[in-house]
Each structure stands twice: as structure tokens, then as C-alpha cells.
């Protein structure tokens, strides 16, 4: 591969080390060409190796496929290859000189909403695929809604199979207008862009299309390379969930007591006045350590270790915050809950809760409504929350949570529910 070159054409580690990271997810119905699109991105950006390509060629032949089936690149499990469907989220990697990309490749089947939510939870951007022949469908609404619910900052709508619509501009414009009339309700003011593509032939994926000169706003890869991502983490509200206490018990660091964690929001500086929750005891940051190194400031999402001026009782699950900017605190938590298990949510049932580094238990007090995510209608008389449902639910926790609304901070605003007998992850909650 001849990427990441410096001016002399040599591979440059300097260029490589400067790259940013963009995580994106792909959403599309079965047969919208999602696997083909990912295969095309990897293939045209020269991220596929010869032995992988050989394996796909062999597999395509074996399945009696006439052309190279790029979709086979992404199906990792035997059952997926046999049935030609994607069962589980798979992660793919590629890089250009500007960015490294992590793709969460999620299945498009209606019953696999939970996988889409999983892939979307860490994404900076979502690609929503629409088949140009079918236009905006119920599935499209579902994908757009989940992207908005999970607060994915950037949306790229790819209108695929333009080759089968003779690359006509009016087809693109009609679908764009249809999508907007829905998305203006779901995510007003969000960064949404539209790109007409043919994943099969490569138009506007990596290389500009020669068939659609009416479209001049750049290819999909250009969009992925240029989306601004510096504001995707909350850099306003200082939040530090304490993950682990470091006590070396060595002669050199006899009295060292460090609070290790990953910053969930904002900045912390040496000398900052902080509060520890839940005790509300104030203190001052005396040092910010990474390995063998101290620094003046740190910000989300860095993993660091803080030391404080005062010896305070702090344990895992506590949260260190800026003194003048504290999160909400409550035992009554209202969440939008995506249910991920075959067994329905038990009203009045008890579940274990994981929120940041904090473990508590909760009781489900009330199902306020289940959302029909095709029509966005709130179904208040529906109370049985089943697999792949999204519902508004009230939880009562045994100990208070320190949280921000999910729309303000995706880390301090999210939680999962765990079945206490099977230990399965049952639901994912976004705090309102």
C-alpha cells in the first residue's frame, strides 16, 4: 500500500501518528447493499489484502456467484456465510492519510435492532443506506430514529443503486426531500448530508462518479475524512468516574494514592478545585499522571490517574467533578430503553445497573410508553417491552446516580440493565 507518504513518497510514521480516529456505523435494510458498500470502501481504499481477496474469490465461486461478491468480505461467522446474512456486529478497519476508521458493521434485519444500537453507541457518524428504487421506507425511519436516539453527531445518507435509476438527479432529490421531512422532526439542526452512490460500480464511494456530473459535493470517503469530530466529546462539564484506586505499597511511592479512570467529560487541570460525589467533600488536584509522566491538564476521553491534596475516602463508582459544575443526582431515573433480550422487561422487576463505573440495583417502576419507531407514535397503553422495543421507562435505583442527560454527555448519560440471575445484558438506557 502506498499511503501515508511524506513528500519524498516514503511511508511516513509522522503522518501516521497525526491521524485522527473516526468511528462510524452503517445502517441499511437487507439488500440495500450495505456489505457491498463496505466491501467497496475497503477495496477502493486499497485496504484489502491479496489473501483476503483470494478467499473471497474462492467463496464467490463456491456459491456460484458470477461476480466478485464483496459482501463476503464482511461476514465472519460460518452461519453468516452459509445463510448469506449478517448476524452480529463486526468491526472493520481502514485508514487514509488523514484518518483511521473503525466501522461497526451492523445487520439490517428488523429483529436485529439491538445490534444497530450497539454499533451506534460508540459512533461519531452513521451512514444510512437507501435503495434508490425503493426510496424512504419504514426501515429508513427506524434507522434514522435510532441514530438520533443514540445521539450520533453526524449522519450521511447514501442513496444507493443509482445505476438502476439511470443516475437521475430527480430520483436523488425526491428521496432527499422525503428523508428531510422525517428527519427534521427527529433530529432538527443535526449535521445531515446526502450522497448519490452506486456501491456495486463504485460511483461516489471513493472515486467521484462519471455518471452523475450534476452532483459535485464530494464522495463518501471525502465526507468521512472531513467531518469535524473535535466537538464529539463533551469538553464542557468536568466528569471523572473513579475506576480504580492505585496504591503501589512500595518504598518509593509509600503514601501514593491515585484515582485511576477515563475522563468522561470536560477538562481537568492541576490545581483545579473539585468535589467528590457522593460525599461532596471538596479537594484540589495535586497531579495528573500518566505512565511515569505528569501533565498540567487532561481532557475526555483520556485515561489518567489523579492525586488529590486531601486524604479522602474515595472508592470505585464515586465521581470527581469540577466544584462549580456538578451533575444531576437522583434515585429516580427516566430512560429511553432499548430492550435486547427475548425475555420481556419485568415491570416491578429488579435488575443490576451499570452506569459509568458505578454498580447499583434498580426496580422498574413504570413503563410510560413504547415508541412506534416507524411512526414516532407514543403507545401509552402498551406496557410489555419486548426484544428490540424502545420504551420510556422509570427506574428507581438503590443508590443515587450522578448523571447528565444523554443528549449532553453520552458517557455519563448511559446505563445498562443486567439480569441478576443469568447475568445477561438485557437493556441499554439513555437517560432523559
Amino acid at each position: 500500500m502506498t499511503k501515508h507518504q511524506d513528500s519524498s513518497g516514503e511511508f511516513s510514521s509522522k503522518v501516521y501518528l497525526e491521524m485522527e480516529l473516526l468511528r462510524f456505523t452503517t445502517a441499511g435494510s437487507v439488500d440495500d447493499g450495505k456489505s457491498t458498500l463496505i466491501g467497496r470502501l475497503l477495496y477502493d481504499s486499497k485496504s484489502i489484502f491479496e489473501d483476503q481477496l483470494d478467499a473471497v474469490k474462492k467463496a464467490s465461486l463456491k456459491k456460484g456467484s458470477e461476480h466478485l461478491n464483496l459482501a463476503l468480505l464482511t461476514d465472519g461467522l460460518r452461519a453468516e456465510r452459509e445463510q448469506g446474512i449478517t448476524i452480529d456486529v463486526a468491526y472493520r478497519y481502514f485508514a487514509t492519510p488523514h484518518r483511521k476508521f473503525i466501522i461497526a458493521d451492523t445487520p439490517g434485519h428488523i429483529q436485529y435492532t439491538r445490534n444497530m444500537v450497539t454499533g451506534a453507541s460508540t459512533a461519531n457518524a452513521a451512514i444510512i443506506l437507501i435503495d434508490a428504487r425503493n426510496g424512504v421506507t419504514e426501515q429508513t425511519h427506524r434507522h434514522a430514529y435510532i441514530a438520533s436516539l443514540l445521539e450520533i453527531p453526524h449522519i450521511i445518507v447514501c442513496i444507493n443503486k443509482m445505476d438502476l435509476q439511470d443516475y437521475r438527479e430527480e430520483v436523488f432529490n425526491r428521496i432527499k426531500t422525503d428523508f428531510k421531512s422525517f428527519s427534521d422532526q427527529v433530529f432538527p439542526g443535526k449535521d445531515v448530508r446526502f450522497i448519490p452512490i452506486s456501491a456495486l460500480h463504485g460511483d461516489n464511494v471513493v472515486d467521484p462518479s462519471e455518471n452523475m456530473d450534476w452532483y459535485q459535493e464530494g464522495t463518501l470517503l471525502q465526507a468521512l475524512e472531513n467531518i469535524p469530530i473535535s466537538n464529539d466529546h463533551n469538553l464542557t462539564d468536568g466528569r471523572f468516574p473513579v475506576q480504580f484506586i492505585i496504591r503501589p505499597e512500595s518504598n518509593e511511592f509509600h503514601d501514593y494514592r491515585g484515582y485511576a479512570g477515563r475522563i468522561a467529560g470536560g477538562f481537568f487541570h492541576k490545581g483545579d478545585r473539585i468535589l467528590v460525589l457522593p460525599s461532596r467533600i471538596p479537594s484540589v488536584i495535586t497531579s495528573i499522571n500518566t505512565f511515569n509522566n505528569t501533565q498540567e491538564e487532561a481532557f475526555a476521553p483520556m485515561s489518567v490517574t489523579l492525586t488529590l491534596a486531601d486524604a479522602i475516602d474515595i472508592s470505585r463508582g464515586d465521581m470527581i467533578v469540577q466544584e462549580n459544575n456538578i451533575p444531576r443526582e437522583s434515585t429516580t431515573i427516566e430512560v429511553m430503553l432499548c430492550w435486547m433480550n427475548q425475555r420481556p422487561l419485568q415491570v416491578n422487576g429488579k435488575y443490576a445497573v451499570k452506569h459509568t463505573t458505578r454498580d447499583v440495583r434498580c426496580m422498574v417502576r413504570e413503563v410510560k410508553y413504547i415508541l412506534n419507531i416507524n411512526t414516532l407514535e407514543k403507545q401509552e397503553e402498551e406496557k410489555v417491552v419486548k426484544l428490540n422495543d424502545i420504551a420510556c421507562v422509570m427506574l428507581l435505583t438503590t443508590k443515587p446516580l450522578f448523571y447528565d442527560p444523554y443528549s449532553v454527555n453520552r458517557i455519563t448519560g448511559s446505563l445498562i440493565l443486567i439480569d441478576e440471575s443469568t447475568n445477561e445484558t438485557m437493556g441499554a438506557g439513555m437517560i432523559l
Binding site: 485522527e20 478467499a55 461467522l77 485508514a95 473503525i102 475506576q243 477515563r262 470505585r316 445498562i416
Partner: protein, 299 residues
């Protein structure tokens, strides 16, 4: 500047995962093969707990078919980090009749390792084993979670994995079950090499060019050792080679290479058109070779 570069973000993610293991499990361990990925893991673990020592013992599953250089390196590393080393021996599993050695030309102890690994996990009652698996390595690994549940038989059920959202990891389990944890899931081969260069991490000498007795089997260069059976027409010759991955001698393909610095290696990898496991004999047994081994409890 408040935007992390991609390697800084991956490092931060890996350290978070390693600390999460220390917090959620009672008897964690770190699986150490002597390869570059597990060496990077040891460095990340050092960063995660500094100024305290690495909190986990290093567990090496020894096939008895190692490159000598790997063992020397392992012992030096253990001393350098003041770590605790636990060795699970495949030879011992063979001697005690737990497994039967494969016969024939392509005989390898690679698959036998699974039994030794699971026995070792059971013997020391480890409830978590951190591994250096990466999702870009292989298509079944692309489906792995960071926290990957194993039942009491050590089995992986890829069609029924717990969803993993945000950076919340569910390590809850029943008695006798355990977790495999993969902190560098999101790193690519190139990320690993760039990190090794940037952080100035020592590697076993077999990663750099050296002269070795080798032979060619079906286009793959393999190291010669007294326990390797040669087929007719296969000839031992001396070549300048290096390892791109390090595993058991019987299944580690070597590259013909004169790269003797990290910069050389990175240039070589940047230009290569074959994945690093393309030279791994163990993956070529079938299209689902890795998936099948992983289901049974392999690394």
C-alpha cells in the same frame, strides 16, 4: 489542542479496559505468548497501574515448540517488570494423557494448546484472562467483544454474545465461568508497529532479520527444527528471514526479509499485500478454522 490522535485514543481505550479487568475480577491473568501483541499488552498494563506494578500474573502456554529467542525474551521481560510468570505446559498435557499429539507432516501442537490453556485457567481459578487478540486479524475475531464470556467448558458462543455498548463492560458471571478480555481489539497490525516504534518497546530478535535454517512448504517458509518432519523434495536451506507474527515453530510462517530496524519493518508492512495471518498454517486448515478453535476455548 483537545483532540486525541488515533493511537492516543486507542491507548486510552486499552488502559480503560485493563483497569476494568482489575476492578471487576478477583483473579485476572494476562496471556503472554512472547509475540508483539502480548508484549504491547504488558506495556499497556504497566501504564494502567503505574506507579504500582502490573497486577496480573503473566500466563504462558508453552507448546514446547518455541523459538529459543522467545523464551529468553520472556524471562528477561518478567524480570524487568517484576512480574509473576505461570507456565502451562503442552508437553505435560501430552505426558499425562490429557491430549494426544498429532502425527504426520503438518502435525502441530497449536490445537492442543486449548486444553492446556483451559486446564491452567481452572488450576489457578482465573476468572479473567486478558489476551492480545485483534479484530483485524481474522474474520471470526472481528466479531469478538472486549469482554468475551466463556461458559464453564471454556466455550465461546458467537451467536449469543452479550451486547456491548458505550464503554460499559458487563463482566458478571457464574462460578466456574470466565472471561477473555481483549483490550487491543481495535488496533490494527500497523497500529501495533507504530506504537512499538513510538514507545520504543523491545521485541524478541526473531522479529528482525536473521539467518536461519528454513524449508518451503506450499509456498510458506517454515523454520526447521529437529521435530519437524520434512516431505520428500523439501530441503533445508539457510535464508535471511524474520517473523511477522510469532507462534509455535510448526505454524509460524517466516518472511524472507532483510529488515533490521523498526523503520524497515514498518516500510515492509506498508508495502505488503498479504495479511499477517496469511502465513499462519493454523488458519489455513479451513475457512472457519479460527472460529472453530475459538468456540472450543482457544486464545
Amino acid at each position: 489542542m483537545c483532540q486525541l490522535r488515533h493511537l492516543q485514543e486507542l491507548e486510552s481505550e486499552a488502559i480503560f479496559v485493563i483497569r476494568e479487568v482489575a476492578a471487576q475480577f478477583e483473579r485476572p491473568s494476562l496471556l503472554f505468548s512472547g509475540g508483539k501483541d502480548s508484549i504491547v499488552l504488558v506495556y499497556l498494563a504497566q501504564k494502567a497501574f503505574w506507579p504500582a506494578r502490573i497486577l496480573f500474573p503473566l500466563v504462558h502456554i508453552d507448546t514446547g515448540h518455541n523459538f529459543d529467542e522467545t523464551l529468553l525474551f520472556r524471562d528477561a521481560l518478567v524480570e524487568k517488570f517484576h512480574a509473576r510468570l505461570i507456565v502451562g505446559s503442552v508437553q505435560e498435557s501430552i505426558d499425562t494423557g490429557r491430549v494426544v499429539e498429532e502425527q504426520g507432516y503438518n502435525a502441530s501442537r497449536n490445537i492442543l494448546q486449548t486444553v492446556t490453556l483451559l486446564d491452567t485457567i481452572e488450576k489457578y481459578k482465573f476468572d479473567a484472562a486478558i489476551g492480545g487478540g485483534r479484530r483485524d486479524e481474522e474474520k471470526a475475531r472481528a466479531k469478538e467483544r472486549f469482554f468475551s464470556h466463556r461458559d464453564e467448558f471454556g466455550q465461546w458462543d458467537p451467536k449469543n454474545q452479550r451486547p456491548e455498548l458505550w464503554n460499559i463492560f458487563n463482566g458478571k458471571k457464574r462460578m466456574g465461568e470466565h472471561f477473555r478480555v481483549f483490550p487491543i481489539s481495535n488496533w490494527t497490525e500497523m497500529d501495533i508497529w507504530q506504537y512499538i516504534l513510538h514507545e520504543n518497546i523491545d521485541l524478541p530478535s526473531i522479529y528482525y532479520t536473521h539467518e536461519r535454517k528454513v524449508f518451503n512448504r506450499d509456498g510458506v517458509w517454515l523454520a526447521w527444527a529437529p521435530f519437524m518432519k520434512l516431505k520428500e523434495k523439501e530441503m533445508v536451506e539457510i535464508r535471511k528471514v524474520r517473523c511477522r507474527t510469532v507462534g509455535d515453530i510448526t505454524c509460524t510462517g517466516l518472511s524472507l526479509s532483510t529488515a533490521n530496524s523498526l523503520e524497515d519493518i514498518i516500510r515492509e508492512i506498508a508495502a505488503t499485500r498479504v495479511t499477517e495471518r496469511g502465513g499462519r498454517y493454523d488458519d489455513q486448515r479451513s475457512d472457519a478454522a479460527m472460529e472453530d478453535r475459538k468456540k472450543e476455548g482457544y486464545f
